[in-house]
Point group: D2
Chain length 313, copies 4
């Protein structure tokens, strides 16, 4: 049996050492250490890893980390939302996102064309830049293919980007499909609609993309899910796993709670009732802000995997 250990600081402590101590502190720090263990195990088992996140995380600096994880082979399938795609492209074009506070005056922000996302800001200028760059990309893509799945569209866009911190760039170059089942839910939806106005045979085939996500792994593959935040991206990944026999490993990191029956707050335990994760699977649910919890848990896992020669550093 494990017991609580008194935690003390030593000079120069690394993130890996801290997470090792977390395992004996208590509450969510213990769950975070368990999440690290699950991540290590899923990689050692050569699982197909579904990594899901929401757009606010791509607004944040986690975006570069997601791109790095794809490069390191820590994600085999990405599922995310329309906003995440847009902001990854904006950043790949050099747009920068100011850091503010949660209590900025929203009417003032609106007057100067700043859009608040928590304590971060996206300027109207960034949305204009997106529009100006997206249209020539769509022209190029349409000239090759008129009916595409979302993942095909995103791969084509990724191939046209030049930014190694870009999720789309890395995914396109490492054959990691990016699924985005709600692709129209953003300014991207508006640009696709405008494009279709001029080209009625331009079709985004979401149904065929569902086939792709189902077939991108098989019943025989060991499957794993790392779901950051809730929303359609989390649900879509675990649904794809469910249709192939369920995930063997699952890590959920979120601020949503289980008490209202929402998908976003559903725990890894609830997932067992559905067969979304297998009954004897290795799972962890960590409650907390992903910008804090995910880097810690993943860094510790990466250090451990690197020490065993399972990833390059």
């Amino acid at each position: 049996m494990a017991f609580v250990q008194d935690f003390t600081w030593k000079h120069g402590v690394t993130v890996k050492e801290l997470v090792d101590k977390y395992g004996a502190i208590g509450y969510q720090s213990v769950e975070l250490a368990r999440a690290k263990d699950s991540i290590v195990k899923m990689k050692k088992a050569s699982s197909k890893i579904f990594l899901t996140f929401t757009s606010n995380m791509v607004t944040s600096g986690l975006r570069g980390f997601f791109a790095q994880l794809i490069k390191l082979g820590m994600a085999d399938v990405i599922v995310t939302t329309a906003g995440a795609i847009e902001e990854d492209i904006m950043k790949a074009m050099g747009e920068r996102f100011p850091i503010g506070t949660f209590s900025m005056d929203d009417v003032e922000l609106h007057e100067r064309g700043d859009n608040r996302v928590g304590n971060l800001v996206i300027t109207n200028e960034s949305y204009c830049q997106l529009e100006s760059k997206l249209l020539p990309m769509l022209d190029k893509i349409y000239s090759k293919q008129k009916r595409l799945t979302v993942s095909e569209l995103l791969k084509e866009i990724g191939l046209q980007l030049e930014d190694e911190h870009s999720i789309l760039y890395q995914a396109a170059r490492h054959n990691v499909p990016i699924f985005c089942p709600g692709i129209t839910d953003g300014s991207l939806g508006f640009h696709l609609f405008m494009y279709q106005q001029k080209h009625d045979d331009f079709i985004i085939d979401v149904v065929k993309d569902f086939k792709k996500i189902v077939l991108c792994t098989s019943h025989d593959d060991t499957k794993a899910v790392i779901a950051l935040g809730g929303s359609i991206s989390k649900h879509h990944a675990i649904l794809a796993c469910l249709l192939n026999g369920g995930a063997r490993y699952a890590v959920y990191m979120t601020t949503a709670r289980a008490t209202s029956g929402s998908m976003s707050g559903a725990t890894t335990n609830e997932a067992k009732s559905w067969g979304k994760v297998q009954d004897d699977s290795d799972v962890a649910t960590v409650i907390g802000d992903v910008t804090i919890t995910f880097p810690i848990a993943m860094i510790a896992a990466l250090e451990e995997l690197q020490a065993e020669g399972l990833i390059d550093g």
Copy 2:
């Protein structure tokens, strides 16, 4: 200036009387009374009302209330998720959803084919029933039209249902469009994929549906949003409003918090920075479980509107 009033019980108190008292209790009860006021005002101003909700609310008994609200003219546009559609259809077929507890044994539930949603259950049998009924419906629809938007698909399904407590049934009969930007994110996605396997020209056109949601109101319309829970359904409705100049009234009811920058937790204030709601709009954010807060606020609004002859009772 308004002051806190001591609350006391009187025998036979109605929901309407309670909400009137809420306005002088404090904290979220005050916000709930403000939400009621916003709902009354949006209706009096003949606003186009976007009502959004997530699938867990359709799992719950709120489903019949949503259908009633459509019938009463309290919703001009519906935005929701795939699970909500599926469960509305299941219930219209007579499937029943057991009530359990949050702490049921998930492995046991899985063994007997029960899927947990908080303290509610959906049986595997209900999913089988859905499949058996959906295929003939799709055949009928496909025979008429091969390329449809999601809202067209849902209207066609709604017309084939016979249950006045059904959201799709009422929406189809009252010309209220139902948008579902992530239509493939559920077993519905699986059935559409299987159908497309046999009919490659069967296309769900999500891009054209984005056009429809943008054009279903205009800049000149007064627009209002009642967003229950977060997710893609909330965002999609306020995005559609934003593209037409923003909502004049907005009520958000959710358990998600603003502190992690998520869309689900974003407040009506944050929405002002985007122009999602207008700077001088009438807004309220109520934190709490929607199964408790929404019936109270909406019932009080309905009583008030009925007293003024603005809805039938």
Copy 3:
């Protein structure tokens, strides 16, 4: 087995009728209906009911409801915090508490002597009034007795108040002891300290008050806890029950969560491991803002009890 029922509105619906419907809606509405059931059962079983609340609830209009519940015999023991005592006295003196918003400018408020509690305000003037009235009261009490327990002090104060909406007033007149284990944690603490400066033999005996709360019920009594919010008031009541064999009925209503191991977020299930509530007890935990959830649940319980002649209305 119970099943989810479609909820629909009917004109003139009472709070009691709504709560009956809640039992078949889902998530927290189901838990709230269970809380109502527990309250009815605890009263029918002639339990000794511990009612606990925090100071912010006395800042709010729930204060008058608590006083009414004491009068109706729905609370046999009160446990609360220093701020609650202070604000009950202020209100009994006629002080009024303005209603504001959560986003008021705190620096501006400070400049004009307004202290924010969420979306409510307590003015510096109210604190001054408290001071001017409290000193003569203490003189009167000290002249009778120099070493008092907290509950004795609060009874003496209650007897000097003239406001039927006052908790202290009703408790003093109905022999309901008010325990406040952290009595010095507020401006009350400051006034007691100033008083003791002049009268060194003035002693508030918290240890003897612990004896009183332990002996105010016995092992043979059926005990029940209604804990609103968390904090020392919740813990103190269930500790007193634990020392007498645990509570048979327990209703927790709070916004705090179980995930961080805090007392405030601890569930009625966790309480079973301690024997704080009995293994086969009738318990309910409702997550949500108490200003919304408590009036609904308690009103429905009162209507039911009144119908059976168990309380006066």
Copy 4:
């Protein structure tokens, strides 16, 4: 203006380096970096630092860290709850606290004498040990002094302990007063009550202890608060600061939210309206589980302070 930076992992990253990156990620990671800055500044300004925490944190492994912080001169005043005192003493006697899960069976736990605190356990045996050791200590203390303040009692106990990881041990040896305004709210209360049964002149003088906390700093001192979790411990510290002109630095780390008007969830902004923190003070509120957030922020602060020779390592 600061901008979001893409975060990427490098082998061997230290906690200090991670927190530096947090400042440019977003949401709560940015707030955590600000909290670190506030801690560094409060120490550089030679502030009198009030460190407050709740009992669940002493159940956890943070207990040893709190002791170390006292030794390092990072806390001048401690405010906490009765449970924290008890568990510090139990651990100083060698009692060990098992690590479990949040979903353990509470009835089973009760049957074998295990008491759950989130995913940790305190055994009945530990409570028995506490009792057996506490009585001789009280005898020794009573023989010297019959009327004590809480902080005097805790110092006397601390002097009798022999465990450098003990909070009471370090506080007693470094003249750091420990205030516990709700001292009777725990098994400690029961033991004090039993002791007073035999010695009626044994008095715990909480009123005099309030004088001590008010006078342990002055208006002229620069004051700072690090409040972990909410409850009476948080409120008591900021109340003491308020009475001396308010804190210049304040860091709140909690999972409680501001939306219900509770003290536990009150933000550093709300504190400004009260003068609890000064209008131009340096403040940060970090939402998240303290077992994760506090070690990270404090370690980074310690590394920075050590580099400047302001603490020993």
